[in-house]
Subunit: 395 residues, 2 copies
């Protein structure tokens, strides 16, 4: 990587520091709650266009992207950052400075990465770096929360590049610079609503109660055996329902979170959860009176993120490991739920790596440190990984 053109690109990156800071701030201050990314998407699309990319567009899902052509006959590599944040519309996004620190909701997760990818692109152009493969620069929607990875899911399954992408690199918010997310923690989330006839707590005593059925289901959930490796978990996270203390409730509900680093373990847990819920309902209908109506349950899926892992011996992971090592970090592969989960679940190499230093993700005190020297060093993790994966031409 220490070729003269690469060194020239680094000089361009260093010289562009103030612009990187300015663009980070500009993008951060445009609200982009998940399902409300359009304004930030349009702004980023303009920046991609202005940087000279081809085929610039916003797709039907709201992702924005542009293509940097390779030398021809290559594959297609995606380098992405996500447009969306966890912060609802109306959140104060004004960026504050504290020395080299910039503070604002969403600035690290993942807005700075959008600006960094743009900076890498300009440095490649300025230094005349050519790659064998085409590179799609992507600002995608729907990474956070109920967005459920919808942006990258669309790109890989319905977008115009579906079926043509060979590798995917997500430049993500602050994590250890040696951390390489090469595994996809899958999750399934449900809102389970238990309904029954309800009634007066005293007069109608003996009538089936949805709160008893739900409690049976939660207790059974709490007793499922899950493996420590691959890590597999469950939680009965939110509960609600009932109208007054002197009434048998006619409706109670819970939100349940099921996760695993393994697709097959997640499937096994999911089956067990469905069985548990049905058994709990049947048990309550058998235990008490049903003349006025039986307990029923409705399971609504409110989250679905795939599980899986990239082959540790894949080139993509090797490139990221090499880049981390070269920068002095001990590489470490982990599983998480990131945009890379989509290609991983489809058997396509995908990773997420860190854009740089910061903290407080998902809090109002979120921050990044953009001290120039450290920023330049940290950016090289994404830069070197991207160039190696895209097949940098070296004379």
């Amino acid at each position: 990587m220490a070729s003269a053109p690469y060194r020239a690109a680094l000089e361009h990156l260093a010289a562009g520091h103030e612009r990187l800071v300015e663009e980070t701030i500009r993008l951060t201050e445009i609200p982009a709650p998940f399902f409300g990314e359009e304004a930030r998407g349009r702004a980023y699309l303009d920046m991609l266009r202005e940087a000279g990319l081809e085929e610039c567009e916003m797709d039907a899902e709201g992702n924005v992207m542009g293509l940097r052509r390779g030398l021809g006959n290559g594959s297609l590599i995606v380098v992405a950052a996500h447009l969306d944040t966890v912060f609802p519309a109306g959140t104060d996004l004004k960026v504050k400075r504290d020395g080299t620190k910039l503070l604002a909701p969403g600035i690290g997760d993942d807005t700075r990465s959008l600006a960094i990818n743009l900076a890498l692109l300009r440095a490649m152009d300025a230094a005349g770096l050519r790659t064998r493969h085409d590179i799609l620069f992507l600002g995608n929607v729907g990474e956070e929360g109920l967005g459920d990875l919808r942006g990258v899911r669309f790109l890989f399954t319905k977008g115009r590049y579906a079926g043509r992408i060979a590798a995917f690199i997500s430049v993500e918010g602050p994590m250890g610079m040696g951390t390489i997310v090469s595994g996809a923690t899958g999750s399934l989330r449900y809102r389970a609503t238990f309904r029954g006839p309800g009634g007066h707590s005293f007069m109608d005593f003996g009538t089936v109660s949805p709160s008893f059925a739900m409690a049976e289901a939660i207790v059974a959930l709490s007793r499922i055996n899950v493996p420590a490796q691959p890590k597999t978990t469950f939680s009965a996270s939110v509960v609600g329902g009932g109208t007054s203390v002197n009434s048998i409730p006619n409706e109670v509900w819970m939100e349940v979170d099921l996760r695993s680093d393994s697709a097959s373990e997640l499937q096994r847990l999911d089956r067990a959860f469905h069985e548990i819920v049905q058994r709990a309902v049947a048990a309550e209908n058998a235990a008490r009176r049903t003349e006025k109506g039986s307990i029923t349950v409705q399971l609504k899926k409110i989250g679905d993120r795939p599980a899986g892992a990239v082959d540790e011996r894949s080139e993509l992971v090797a490139h990221a490991r090499a880049a981390a090592s070269a920068l002095g970090h001990a590489p470490r592969t982990v599983a998480s739920s990131t945009d890379a989960s989509i290609p991983i679940s489809l058997g396509i190499p995908g990773i997420a790596i860190s854009a740089g230093a910061g903290g407080g993700a998902h809090t109002l005190d979120e921050w990044v440190d953009m001290e120039p020297g450290q920023t330049l060093r940290d950016m090289q993790l994404a830069f070197a990984t991207l160039l190696a994966t895209a097949g940098l031409e070296t004379e």
Copy 2:
């Protein structure tokens, strides 16, 4: 009862029908949510005073009352109706008419009874009826919901007549005219709040969860054996808590209702509930990790109504039975939670009987039928029971 003075009193009752209707409407349209009975109480106090009672007063709890002296050296009998309704401030209380029906929230439970007791008093005076015992005419607060019988409780335990009351008759909203409430269904109500350290549903998996502890408690509650007679019941009525689907909750809560017609069964159920809750918390703390904190539970009593029963052979019940039979109704004693529960729990004879026809109690469509003939017949249940209990002087 068919003495000439009694017949004269009935004629006065019949002649006063329009005034009874007018006063029912006037009182109904004064808001009186439980804990907000003062305006209606003041209005009723003025009416008691105007009717010529002695010792008229509003006590420290908000009850209003006045005394009609007996012939001397007698006991003290209370005839009551409750001022409060279940309807919150701001409810439209405008009385609508539909033929002989009057419709408005609270009109039957128990506002018409206030007006009826006043009509009975005036008829006694007009017909020159004298009784051996003193009669306290009472409009009391706090019968409904969280009022928890506070008005009558104060009267019997802290008021100036505490320790001096020999019998208590509550004239209540519409129920079968043969129905005599001579038993007190006791209830204990709790809000149980389960707390723990919380955490991320995936990262912190294995940490104790308050939702698992609460579910264990609900399941154990659902399996308690309670007797069918004396009727004893439980309900996990309202549940809530948790912050987001991807978090182990740090707090969940439930509202539980325990009831029994027997004081000792209620006590037994209450002890079992306390044990169940503590056992569920201990089980969760044993089943999962507690390094970040253990599960704790707080039990807040949000309701407490006593249980018990009047001796079926008591004079008070005999008088009510005789009055019901004389009016052509088959008398039937039942247990419920009424203002009579307080004297009953203190070993003092107390009953609740119906003021007349109506329906829809505790709904916005509440109504009473004040057809003159039926109203006159129905009022005699309370009138005859009161006169017999107060020791009507007959020549």
